[in-house]
Amino acid sequence: MKQFLSFIKKEFYHVFRDKKTLLMLFGLPIIEIVLFGFALTNEIKNSKIVVCDYSQDEASQLLTQKIESNYNFTVEKNLLSHNEIENSFKQGDIKLAIVFPSNFQQSLFHENIAQIQIIADASDPNTAYTLTNYMKQIILDYQRSILPKGAIPMQIQSEMKMLYNPELKASINFVPGVMALILTLICVMMTSVSIVREKELGTMEILLVSPSNPIMIIIAKAIPYLVVSIINLIIILLLSVFLLDMPIHGSIILLFAESILLIITALSLGLLISNSTANQQSAMLISLMGMLLPTMMFTGFMFPIENMPIPLQVISNLVPAKWYYTIVKSIMVQGLGFAAIWKETLVLIGMTVFLLTVSIKKFKIRLS
């Protein structure tokens, strides 16, 4: 036991004396959360548009005001001629242009049909599509408001309700994703480097020629990173609750317990990589290539897994982060209890037991 404590103390010295790595360990989650929260968002807010109004009558101005009051759009400029439209697309970050033809109101009220042209920048097709839909919705609302009561005999009004995320905030989707990504990446990478470092420096030679037990060496290696990851988890949760207004609906204790389970799974994977590689570079490379891309792709927070071809869906089951992502979403967003996530938990436990057994088995009691 005294041996074990001494090992753990030594590992903590390694972690906390390596200032650069420490900075990365705690800087990475903060940067990721802030980046995903503010910069890399796919929400559409305050898109800049231009209006070219040849009509300048009551109806066109009312509609323009309606557009402007919507939080999705900001009217950047009123153009005098549609010739300027292309120029303003080229110049600035204009997403959409609206053209009212002359005599808009007259056509609308006397001929019962009027035209509006919506021009979108489709270099990003998703954004263009979403924005034109928003715009059509505004125009439809306006149209309904100017209809005399009972003008249309039959009408279906669809009412939409967005469950769990009524404001359609992207953070609800990516915070669990970032948690899964950060925890797996840091744990796998840091532990995979740690045993290999001892091999490279030659200290493993001395450790082997000593009464120390391989299981003790391995577990002592993982403990500091477990602590660092739990601190990271707290940072991520604090940031997402207070900075991104992301609620935690379910039990925090359950969330922590499941997170610790994922951390242990990732640590075991890191140890396995560490035991199977010869130097720090290859350990780093394997854990980066083997973890970063699959975790990003197959967790489901960037690309929905349901849309993938069947073989990729099968592969995604091998990624621990995928199961964890489902668990976190269930707890944080839907507020569900353990009964809803026991299957995913069981999968993670199974993975951990398997990885840990293999890495202890693979631990070499001799050189080469």
Partner: protein, 306 residues
């Protein structure tokens, strides 16, 4: 009582046909200071790693303190001290932290065996809060020795402990080994420096995985077959060339500031012939003196005969 015994040990790496260690047998008595002398790549480290149970031999058997190196590896790991050739302590831990870490993993404390390391530790104690990575070569080596000794091992394996260490520290190190020997610890040390060989009780000369000779240093020197002469003149490189083309030369090689030469037919008269031969070749300041061969001379002679 023999503490270390090797019998016909063979070690090859991978599919390599040539042996790193080729049918090596020797034994070391309890409390002996035994030196394994040979150039880089001779197989010294492989032998040490097999004896410390880090590598498995392809064939042959070996025992340390009566324990088999393959079967009883856990017992051996409890009782030997090992100092690898490369500095292998934690660079980001201080001297004291390194020492107490190794004391704990061997289930002991610094206090318990302090008398064993006192002489060595006192020299580095003023720097005990300095990280091992920031120490000089000599201090690193002293720290590594302390860490290898902290659990009072029965056998101490030192793999090239003096490589990359200055002459003064090397001398000090050998003095430390002599003191440790008095404590009754069996010491196996390897070194590429032939001048250190005479400080061991018994030495094995090793080259390309084969043992050339095992004897006491003086035994090895006295078995040198010829009388050796040291020759010096103003133009040393021309001198070497001329000595090699001298008809009566047996062996001739450059050795520090002299050339060492042995003759096929050796007599006072032949030396005079050599002297006049060199004078004819217009050498100046010619010195020829009979010398006692060093271990290195013996090593070169053995290699020539292989």
């Amino acid at each position: 009582m023999k503490d270390v015994v090797l019998q016909n040990i063979v070690k090859t790496y991978g599919t390599d046909e040539s042996c790193a260690v080729d049918n090596v047998s020797f034994s070391v008595e309890k409390g002996e200071l035994f030196g394994l002398i040979g150039p880089d790549g001779a197989g010294k480290t492989s032998i040490f790693r097999m004896l410390t149970t880090l590598l498995l031999p392809n064939s042959g058997s070996a025992q340390v303190c009566g324990y088999d190196i393959v079967k009883d590896y856990t017992s051996i790991r409890n009782i030997v001290g090992y100092m690898p050739g490369k500095f292998s302590l934690y660079q980001d831990l201080t001297i004291e932290e390194n020492l107490s870490f190794f004391a704990t993993i061997f289930n002991t404390t610094i206090k318990e065996n302090y008398n064993l390391i006192r002489d060595i530790y006192e020299q580095i104690e003023p720097f005990k809060d300095r990280r091992a990575g920031n120490l000089s070569g000599g201090m690193k080596q002293k720290l590594a020795l302390c860490c290898a000794l902290i659990h009072k091992p029965e056998v101490l394996f030192l793999d090239e402990p003096t490589t990359g260490v200055d002459a003064v520290s090397r001398k000090e190190f050998w003095e430390m080994l002599a003191r440790l020997k008095k404590e009754g610890i069996t010491i196996l040390v390897s070194t590429p420096y032939m001048d250190e060989a005479s400080l061991c009780e018994n030495i094995a000369l090793i080259q390309s995985g084969k043992i050339l000779d095992i004897n006491t240093p003086s035994g090895i020197i006295s078995s040198y077959p010829n009388q050796l002469y040291a020759v010096k003149a103003t133009h040393m490189s021309r001198l070497l060339h001329d000595l090699q083309s001298f008809t009566n030369t047996n062996s001739c090689f450059s050795f520090g500031e002299f050339h060492h030469i042995s003759l096929q037919e050796d007599s006072e008269k032949q030396i005079q012939t050599l002297h006049s031969y060199l004078q004819q070749a217009k050498h100046t300041n010619i010195q020829i003196q009979a010398i006692v061969p060093s271990i290195e001379d013996c090593f070169i002679e053995r290699m020539r005969n292989e």
